[in-house]
């Protein structure tokens, strides 16, 4: 299984988390890391696992670099049946009303278009000062084990 990590960032924190995640996987999996600004929905394939690492900006919006991808999803509404993804959202719980809303929107859109989410929606809270890369790596271990449980059961 190829793992494709797609990050959307405003401050650079999501990119850093994506890099840490990629580094933790590189020895075991074929891994690539890409800026969402350079990804189009047509690039999504069925034989890879896409890992979205994305922040929230302003009033619960997606970061600028993720907007073209999200807009393309909303406008062209491609059928994403058979596409597998996992998603990890960065936010700050200090902003209670909008905490993690950017990546939640992206998650809802992907699901709506038929893509299958692996594992739980991951979260990092800037207010905790937990190292974002470590939180992402620990979360993704759970995603991978849920995939194994599912494939064993099948």
């Amino acid at each position: 299984m190829k793992i494709s990590i797609l990050f959307g960032t405003e401050s650079g924190n999501s990119e850093m988390a994506a890099e840490d995640l990629a580094a933790s996987l590189a020895d075991t999996y074929e891994t690539e890391i890409r800026d969402l600004a350079e990804v189009s929905p047509e690039d999504l394939r069925e034989d890879a696992l896409y890992v979205f690492v994305c922040s929230t900006y302003g009033e619960g919006e997606l970061p600028n670099s993720a907007l073209p991808f999200y807009t393309a999803l909303s406008q062209t509404r491609p059928d994403l049946t058979g596409v597998h993804y996992a998603i990890f959202g960065l936010g700050d719980s200090f902003y209670t009303e909008t905490f993690g809303h950017g990546s939640l929107k992206l998650d809802a859109q992907l699901k709506d278009l038929g893509a299958h989410r692996a594992g739980d929606f991951g979260r990092h809270d800037a207010s905790t000062w937990e190292p974002v890369g470590e939180v992402a790596v620990a979360w993704f271990e759970d995603v991978l084990s849920s995939l194994q449980v599912n494939s064993n059961a099948a």
Partner: protein, 434 residues
């Protein structure tokens, strides 16, 4: 291109850190040094971002990677322009970039501005962040204070003034200043904003945040909307504030005046009020014992590096091999992440310049600086000792206790602590707070 160009970045705040990041990605072998006049890195993240916004401050974990794994050198305790001349830096480095930000509160340019009792928001925030070059406590503000400006810094000031000491849990606020202020806190705050509610530059979430502080009563006036967008996030934040009635009599009242232009600060020897012009053209005086201005930051003409150069959004180039980035380039606009895009543009200019200067003479880089400078440098390891000492000294419910005295920071940074021995500076620091 120079095989291993030597690059000096003056200032280790967000502007400098994003630039170092971008340059490092393109030039894995360049010698990159970030200078700071303080013993601590991160500039505005440490001393400008409000102490109760720890989530915003956590970006320093990203910036710390420059020094931890990206082979960027931190050279703290070096003031370029005084201890070390800009010429000496340019003689030894192929490229020098000024990322020194803007520390001076912008003038309002209204009569009465020089009255006693008028303070700048930058001053205020530095005190609350325990900046070693700022006053250790706040001035006596009196019962009533007017805050002028409609941006996030202005809301920072409001929020820090309406909080009780217990509302600062988890922060690294300057506790002696908070405790002294709590003895005679402000009772009435008038926030004066030139634009309408939905056109004001602050983030609606910053406004909504004010409503979570107990014991405060809010009112807003003159909030004519500029457009048809009545369901804006700002509007719902304002409605939230107005409906957040305190249980019992409020500790403090906050009135927000939209569409109100400050025309004059009234008073004889010290501030007595602020005169505003309302949308209908009439003049109205708001009583205030003190004024805090939060209308942006500006170039300081006495700054040996920046002087009166003004902002320029087109290019970071100042002279051959000399650039600037961040607020020192663009003026005081935008949030921390905006410096990332700014850094990318300036880095592209620098890369183009370096590619075109293949034949220039080699330069000595950091090690070519005068011994008198190098002797006093605080490196990243030194900063980590200060960082550890500050965290260890944190009182209950605080994330750290910052050193108020820069010579203390320097002393702690220079002492080699092996984990067993506590430095003399650390002991003094812990003792002082007990």
């Amino acid at each position: 291109m120079q095989p291993n160009p030597a690059i000096a970045i003056v200032g280790s705040g967000p502007a400098g850190c994003y630039l170092a990041q971008t340059l490092r990605r393109s030039m894995p072998d360049a010698e990159i040094t970030m200078f700071d006049r303080l013993a601590s890195p991160f500039g505005l993240v440490r001393y400008g971002v409000a102490p109760d916004h720890q989530g915003t401050k956590s970006i320093q974990a990203q910036f710390a990677r420059l020094f931890e794994r990206d082979n960027v050198r931190f050279a703290g305790n070096v003031e370029v322009g005084s201890k070390l001349s800009l010429d000496a830096l340019r003689d030894t480095h192929h490229v020098v970039v000024l990322a020194t930000g803007l520390a001076r509160d912008r003038a309002l340019r209204v009569p009465g501005e020089s009255l006693s009792g008028v303070y700048g928001a930058g001053q205020f925030t530095r005190t609350m962040n325990t900046h070693p070059h700022e006053n250790p406590t706040l001035p006596l503000l009196g019962d009533t204070v007017a805050i002028i400006g409609g941006g996030n810094v202005s809301l920072d000031v409001v929020r820090l003034l309406i909080k009780s000491p217990a509302d600062f849990d988890g922060s690294d606020v300057n506790d002696p200043a908070v405790e002294a202020y709590a003895e005679s806190p402000v009772r009435e705050i008038d926030l004066i904003c030139r634009s309408s509610a939905d056109a004001a530059p602050f983030d609606p979430s910053m406004l909504a945040e004010l409503g979570r502080i107990p014991g405060v009563q809010f009112a807003s006036e003159g909030q004519t909307l500029s457009g048809a967008n009545t369901s804006s996030a700002t509007q719902s934040a304002l409605e939230g504030l107005r409906s957040s009635e305190p249980d019992g009599p409020p500790r403090v009242r906050v009135r927000i005046h939209f569409n109100s232009t400050t025309t004059r600060i009234a008073g004889k020897d010290r501030v007595e009020g602020v005169e505003i012009r309302l949308p209908d053209g009439s003049l109205h005086v708001i009583e205030a014992r003190s004024v805090i201005t939060a209308v942006g930051f500006d170039f300081d003409p006495s700054d040996p590096l920046l002087g009166e150069m003004g902002a320029n959004s087109d290019t970071g180039l100042l002279a051959e091999g000399l650039y600037r980035t961040g607020w020192a380039k663009r003026g005081s606009r935008g949030t921390i992440p905006e410096n990332r895009q700014c850094a990318k543009a300036v880095a592209a200019e620098i890369l183009k310049y370096l590619a075109a200067t293949q034949s220039s003479a080699p330069k000595a880089g950091y090690s070519g600086l005068p011994d008198a400078t190098l002797r006093h440098v605080i490196d990243f390891e030194g900063w980590l000792r200060v960082d550890a000492a500050e965290r260890a000294a944190a009182p209950p419910n605080r994330s750290r206790k910052k050193f108020a005295d820069h010579s203390w920071m320097v002393a702690t940074a220079h002492e080699n602590i092996d984990g067993q021995t506590t430095s003399a500076a650390q002991r003094r620091h812990v003792k002082e707070q007990s």
